[in-house]
């Protein structure tokens, strides 16, 4: 650590950190705006089909039609409008599913790591059993049982991915539980649960936030995977995953149908994971 700080001044380091925070924030704000203002800014109806305008290339290529900036797909639907409307589903899933996953997983991880004993035995065995399931197959199975729709996608993500939180937070909690400040809380008359919430949780929180951000990205990917196998939402809703799935069929003559939602997906997942790191560094009093 010391030799790194010799080469870069504190100012330069904080600038780089801020970039890690602000670039993802800028992209995610753009997405939020796009999702909220979709009816106003989308140039076309995302579901409107015009077979005379099928597979129009994006604006920088020859043979394009004005107004269709990113071209059209095999059914003549505007790619840009569909990407814009797709942010609604992507953000909805990432926000709700990741938060639910985080709540379930972190709570179980904290309990297992702090109380140990039977809590830890039961929760750890549960995690091990859970992780032995192939996750994608598990999701497909769940959605097949519960039926397609936004709710089942969210429930499926939370049910599959809570182990990611539980494992990491359990380990982190166990490390923190060894610290003397836990004993000194006991000396100071704190109850066990109070100690967990007011002493240990603040120390585990940076990891929870970083994982939450990562999970938001993963939720977008899982939704895309489920859309890809046609198990997410009905086909009358534009999602990035279903666009990628449809674009795959026409990749040889209309690659843009696949590429643009893919770029949006990629940037979103990257932004969430970077935001997690950026937030951790920005709001960690010890790292500052």
């Amino acid at each position: 650590m010391a030799d790194v700080s010799l080469q870069t001044t504190p100012r330069a380091r904080s600038g780089r950190r801020n970039l890690r925070l602000w670039l993802p924030l800028a992209w995610i704000s753009t997405l939020v705006l796009a999702a909220v203002l979709a009816p106003l800014i989308a140039p076309h109806d995302p579901l409107y089909q015009d077979l005379f305008l099928e597979r129009l290339p994006p604006f920088f290529m020859a043979g394009t039609e004005p107004g269709y900036w990113l071209g059209t797909d095999s059914l003549g639907r505007d790619v840009l409008s569909r990407v814009i409307y797709g942010t609604r589903i992507a953000l909805c899933v990432s926000l709700i599913a990741a938060t639910a996953t985080c709540l379930v997983g972190s709570t179980l991880g904290l309990l297992a790591g702090f109380f140990g004993g039977w809590w830890d035995r039961v929760i750890s065995r549960l995690i091990e059993i859970w992780m032995a399931f192939p996750p994608v197959l598990f999701a497909v199975l769940l959605v097949a049982v519960m039926g397609t729709g936004l709710t089942s996608v969210i429930v499926a993500i939370a049910l599959i991915d809570w182990t990611r939180f539980a494992r990491v937070i359990r380990a982190e909690t166990m490390v923190q539980a060894q610290m003397d400040y836990v004993d000194s809380a006991q000396i100071g008359g704190a109850r066990r649960l109070t100690t967990l919430v007011s002493e240990i949780l603040p120390n585990v929180l940076p990891s929870i936030v970083a994982l939450l951000m990562l999970e938001m990205g993963i939720a977008v990917i899982v939704e895309a995977i489920l859309s890809f196998v046609n198990l997410s939402l009905s086909s009358d809703v534009a999602t990035w995953g279903s666009m990628i799935a449809e674009g795959r069929n026409a990749i040889h003559f209309a690659w843009w149908v696949l590429l643009f939602p893919l770029i949006a997906l990629f940037l979103t997942v990257l932004s969430f994971s970077q935001l997690g790191e950026g937030l951790k560094q920005r709001f960690d009093p010890v790292l500052q």
């Binding site: 003397d180 006991q186 000396i187 008359g189 603040p202």
Partner: protein, 287 residues
């Protein structure tokens, strides 16, 4: 300290803690047979000792002698296997946590490593105020946050830290300052007893001296009973009234500092005493 006119040897101070037949063992999981419970390692082998009220008792011994374990039993962070721990005549060795909670107010502890014992996410004033809030010290039963903060700042002032330190995080303090925060937290509740577990072993020599003289003056001011765990006999001689020497879970010496230092009973104590570096300078050293 208000020294009684009578000689302390003939009229010993009443004991705050009386420990009788204290035994404690840990399971030795490294040598656990496959289908049998792990063998147990005896850490404390039947200790009998008294900690006189208002005095500082040093507990010394090599590492592994059980001195920290003994301390942790006194403040009931650990539960002994057998024996009695009488606090003002009440046996606390078997009480559960709920029954202990009201007593903990009087049993405070200063930890060896303040970096670990002060929560890195909490500001200093919050660290000191947390126990105060739980026991609703001082005035009205429901005092406001601002007043609690003031109480914490007053406790910081008693250990020589400006109110400005209250807004800092522990990692922004020096080692000596951190240990002062640890002391402030312990004295904020105005306890009868403080366990000080190797509190200066992580500090440089000048901070050591400052922290020790602070502890000594606070002890006199507040009439504290202190168990001072250390492996450093020179520190003990400077600070303590009595000293207990532990070795492998047994008491080798138990008496006033003058007694033990002038006429040690066992060879191990003699060895420990010989290991104290001499403060006298050799006259020829300058030549």
């Amino acid at each position: 300290m208000a020294v009684p006119l009578t000689c302390p040897q003939t009229d010993p101070a009443p004991a705050l803690f009386s420990v009788r037949g204290l035994r404690l063992s840990f399971p030795d999981s490294a040598h656990k047979p496959l289908f049998a419970p792990a063998p147990r390692i005896e850490v404390l082998k039947g200790l009998d000792l008294d900690l006189p009220k208002g005095q500082i008792t040093g507990i010394v011994g090599e590492s592994g002698s059980g001195k920290s374990t003994l301390g942790r039993v006194l403040v009931r962070l650990m539960r002994p296997d057998a024996g009695q721990v009488l606090l003002n005549g009440q046996d606390i060795s078997t009480l559960n946590e709920a029954a202990l909670r009201p007593l903990r107010r009087n049993l405070q502890m200063i930890f060896q490593d303040p970096m670990s014992s002060l929560n890195p996410r909490h500001k200093v004033w919050r660290i000191v105020a947390a126990p105060l809030a739980r026991y609703e010290c001082g005035s009205a039963p429901q005092i406001g946050l601002a007043e609690r903060r003031d109480q914490a700042l007053r406790a910081l002032e008693r250990v020589g830290l400006d109110p400005g330190f209250g807004e800092r995080y522990p990692h922004e303090l020096s080692g000596g300052q951190r240990q002062r925060v640890g002391i402030a937290r312990a004295i904020a509740l105005e306890p009868e007893f403080i366990l000080a577990d190797e509190i200066v072993s992580g500090l440089d020599v000048s901070s050591q001296a400052q922290v020790l003289s602070l502890l000594k003056s606070l002890a006199q001011e507040m009439n504290l009973t202190i168990a001072f765990i250390s492996h450093d006999l020179s520190v003990i001689r400077h600070l303590c009234d009595n000293v207990i020497v532990l070795n492998r879970g047994e008491i080798l010496e138990n008496g006033s500092v003058e007694q033990v230092f002038s006429a040690p009973q066992s060879d191990i104590t003699r060895l420990l005493l010989d290991a104290i570096p001499l403060p006298e300078l050799d006259d020829k050293w300058f030549d």
